[in-house]
Amino acid sequence: MALLELRQLRSGYGRAETIRSVDLVVPSASTVVLLGPNGAGKTTLLKTIAGLVAATGGEIRFQDQALTRASAHRRARRGICLIPEGRGIFRRLSVRENLVVQADARGLHQPPVTRAVERAAGLFPVLGRRLDQPAGTLSGGEQQMLALARAFVTDAPLILADELSMGLAPVVVDQIFDAIGVLRSEGRSVLLVEQYVERAVAVADYVYILNKGRVVFTGLPAECSSSAVFARYLQGAA
């Protein structure tokens, strides 16, 4: 069953169309990897799904309901969780306050926060030791863990992960991929945009390649040996 379905989706900025008719399906409990060269429209596509960029055409269906025009917070409440490119944290809030916002809790010392803190600290112990520190003072890896914690604190069935590994040390990248593995094992769907192509394909159920706002390849990971993927990349770059 399709959890998320895009039908001829179009979007862009002002008069420049960045996404030109994209059809894409994320089935329940599966990991879909989205690849493509710089400027292919991967980030825009994720933002359009999450509602930060308005769709100019086509349809977004989630759990068999259209939400093409819903605002970003409505989509988030429905269960679409975008972890944005860069660091998706509130820099001037403490780690605990970040978790309060993530957990949609009523105050600092409420049961949902305690649960959120336990959840986050269970996965990323380092966060549990930094609860009262301003999030902006965490290291890059810790910030990314805090951003990713939102996926765990909420029970969103669909996680959109945009370049989570960018600019992080290899050991932290391992932790991030482990966390994605946990999400998979919980039966949640992940739409993953990644620069580590081979690692991403290794965890994927399906692979899409996007170029210049269009899907140029759809298939199973087995169908795209690493070389084929790279061949298409090079075509796109040329």
Binding site: Y13, G14, A16, L52, H73, A76, I89, V100
Partner: protein, 636 residues
């Protein structure tokens, strides 16, 4: 000490009311990132609602107050947020300043039209009896004011410790991310406007028995809260509260002091603005960073395009100026002379508001003091031309003083500092020997120059035309040469300019000095036209009105300045009906709200009619398009 106690009691009561207004201002600012210059006007409007319900409709006081504070003001807050501000997302902070200024001017104008200028008395509704504390009698009303303010402050503080407080800070920190985290960011912002406007209304209602209900006075009084808000750096509620009480007490004590020093009679009412200006100018650099990161540029940024020397327009204006007087009767000729002088005022203001994108709210100070200085120099026997030149030069250091905040502060805070400076100058300097010297009116007589008498209106018209054309040419030269280029680039990106090795201090000081000089000369010309300088015509409010007029007409070009002069001075003499004259400020205020983001006001629309874009910019339903543009900017 005993002598001072009653003043302290009075000061605490007044300070408490300012505290309520100031805390409302701070809540809105720190949550939405928008400083509401119209805060006082909103309070004024709600107070009129209170008055009408209580007196005209005969409602019980408590019900009228509750409706004004809890229904009318919140509705205004939501309307301001949803209709006026949401479409500005991503605009530079000067656009926000202009929109809230436009709202101030429009609201004040509107209520003057509806209720007329007369102050309405309001029966006191707080108990008037007193009780005895050691050494002093305290009115129950004063005690109640203190209690109400303290309770409101405490309530706010508790409110911000709840989830709403955290969500608020999250929205301020990163609006998009908070949306992704399921927070209704728009709702949080609207809530902050509801709170802010309610507090403004509460302070207005509480002030009404003391001061009566008056569109001008109430707007200004709530504005006194700006000083207290500045003490709290516009973000700290406890500091704002303390600052308001301190200002209230200091102002009250100074009334005692002023009894012995009549020349300082403007001091008590100026104290909030002294605090405002001083805090902004003297606090450490970087302490006043704007809360929101709204300074992201949107595609096709504001008013940068015009940079060619307008030879044809200048020649055309000169020809028109020479031909016109033959076709005018004597009354119209005087108006035409004023229009010409105002073209210089607006053109010089445009160097700041349009070209450098620095909203300066004290331009009237240069004009007024230019006129008074000219009058005094002429009294002292200085020949006219030399006196006019000297009047301009004497105002140059004043321009340099105003440039101090311009160097240190940007956008909003510069506007606030110049605003404070404008009020200060009116309250403190106008009455000294440097200004009007205690007189309401100074006289200026027209001179003979090189054997030609300028006593005739036509001769004087041509003299003004000559001087103004010279000034306009100088302004246009500045625009197209290095200074203008640097200032335009600084408006776009100060960081980029500094990385090119350009020191931003010198050009900013120069442009303020230059505008001060030109404003003073224009003021002198206006004074000579009417043969007198009247302190009332140079009220600080004019500075605000001028900015809205200029933004409406087109702040970035000569054509805009001329249009502004015609719209402000000529229109009311052509359409003499009372309705037109009364509605003029309302029209300018509303127009400024809608044109705050256009390239170059009405003139820009005529030159390059891009109605699709204007529709996008003025429509609130297309917020998503604007948001998308902003994201594109941020991304790339």
């Amino acid at each position: 000490m005993r002598d001072y106690l009653p003043y302290i009691v009075v000061g605490l009561g007044a300070g408490s009311v300012y505290a309520i207004a100031a805390m409302g201002l701070v809540v809105t600012y720190k949550t939405s990132g928008v400083f509401n210059f119209a805060h006082g006007a909103v309070g004024m409007a709600a107070t009129f609602a209170f008055y009408s319900l209580r007196v005209d409709a005969g409602w019980p006081t408590w019900l009228a107050a509750a409706v004004a504070v809890l229904a009318v003001a919140p509705a205004m807050g939501v309307a301001i947020d949803r209709l006026l501000l949401r479409r500005l997302v991503g605009a530079p902070s000067s656009s926000y300043v202009v929109v809230s200024l436009g709202l101030l001017v429009a609201l004040q104008g509107l209520f003057l039209v509806i209720y007329g200028p007369a102050t309405r008395r309001v029966e006191p509704f707080l108990p008037q009896s007193t009780f005895r504390l050691p050494g002093v009698n305290v009115g129950w009303d004063q005690a109640l004011l203190v209690v109400i303010a303290a309770a409101s402050g405490l309530g706010l503080a508790l409110f911000f410790r709840t989830r709403f407080g955290i969500l608020t800070r999250a929205v301020v920190d990163d609006r998009d991310l908070s949306e992704l985290s399921r927070v209704n960011a728009g709702g949080v912002t609207s809530a902050s406007w509801v709170i802010g406007c309610s507090f403004a209304a509460l302070s207005g209602v509480l002030l009404s028995p003391l001061l009566g209900v008056d569109a001008v006075i109430l707007t200004l009084l709530v504005i006194q809260a700006f000083g207290a808000a500045a003490v709290g750096r516009l973000v700290s509620l406890p500091l704002t509260y303390a600052g308001a009480l301190a200002i209230g007490v200091a102002a009250s004590l100074s009334t005692k002091f002023v009894v012995d020093h009549p020349s300082l009679q403007g001091l008590p009412s100026s104290l909030p603005f002294i605090v405002l200006f001083a805090v902004l100018v003297f606090s450490r650099r970087g302490k006043f960073a704007e809360v929101s990161r709204t300074d992201l540029r949107v595609g096709g940024s504001v008013g940068l395009a015009v940079s060619r020397f307008p030879t044809r327009l200048l020649v055309g204006l000169a020809v028109l100026g020479v031909v016109l007087p033959g076709r005018l009767d004597s009354g119209r000729l005087l108006t035409a002379t004023a229009v010409v002088a105002f073209a210089l005022i607006f053109s010089s203001l445009g160097l700041l508001v349009g070209m450098s994108r620095q909203v300066s709210l004290c331009h009237v100070v240069f004009v007024a003091l230019g006129a008074t200085t000219l009058a005094r120099l002429l009294d002292g026997g200085v020949p006219y031309l030399l006196a006019l030149l000297l009047a301009g030069l004497i105002l140059v250091p004043v321009g340099a003083v105003v440039a101090i905040p311009a160097i240190r502060l940007s956008g909003l805070f510069l506007a606030l500092a110049t605003f404070g400076f404008g009020v200060l100058a009116q309250n403190l300097v106008y009455q000294t020997k440097a200004g009007f010297g205690g007189k309401a009116i100074l006289t200026i007589s027209r001179p003979d120059l090189f054997g030609v008498s300028l006593r005739g209106d036509e001769a004087y018209y041509f003299f003004v035309l000559l001087v103004v054309l010279a000034g306009l040419v100088a302004i246009e030269v500045v625009r197209v040469t290095r200074l203008g280029r640097i200032l335009r680039a600084l408006a776009d990106s100060p960081v980029a300019m500094q990385s090119l090795g350009i020191n931003p201090v010198v050009p900013r000081v120069l442009v303020f000095c230059f505008t001060a000089f030109l404003g003073a000369v224009a003021g002198g010309l206006l004074g000579t036209l009417t043969l007198s300088v009247n302190a009332q015509t140079f009220d600080f409010f004019q500075s605000l009105l001028w900015v809205t007029v200029l933004v409406t007409a087109g702040p970035s070009s000569l054509a805009g300045a001329v249009t502004a002069a015609v719209a402000l001075v000529w229109v009311p003499t052509v359409f003499t009906s009372r309705t037109v004259v009364q509605w003029q400020p309302v029209a300018f205020g509303v127009a400024a709200i809608f044109l705050a983001q256009s390239r170059n006001g009405l003139v820009g629309l005529v030159r390059r009619p891009d109605f699709k874009r204007l529709a996008e910019r003025t429509s609130w339903r297309l917020g998503s398009v604007r948001r998308a543009e902003r994201l594109e900017e941020a991304a790339g």
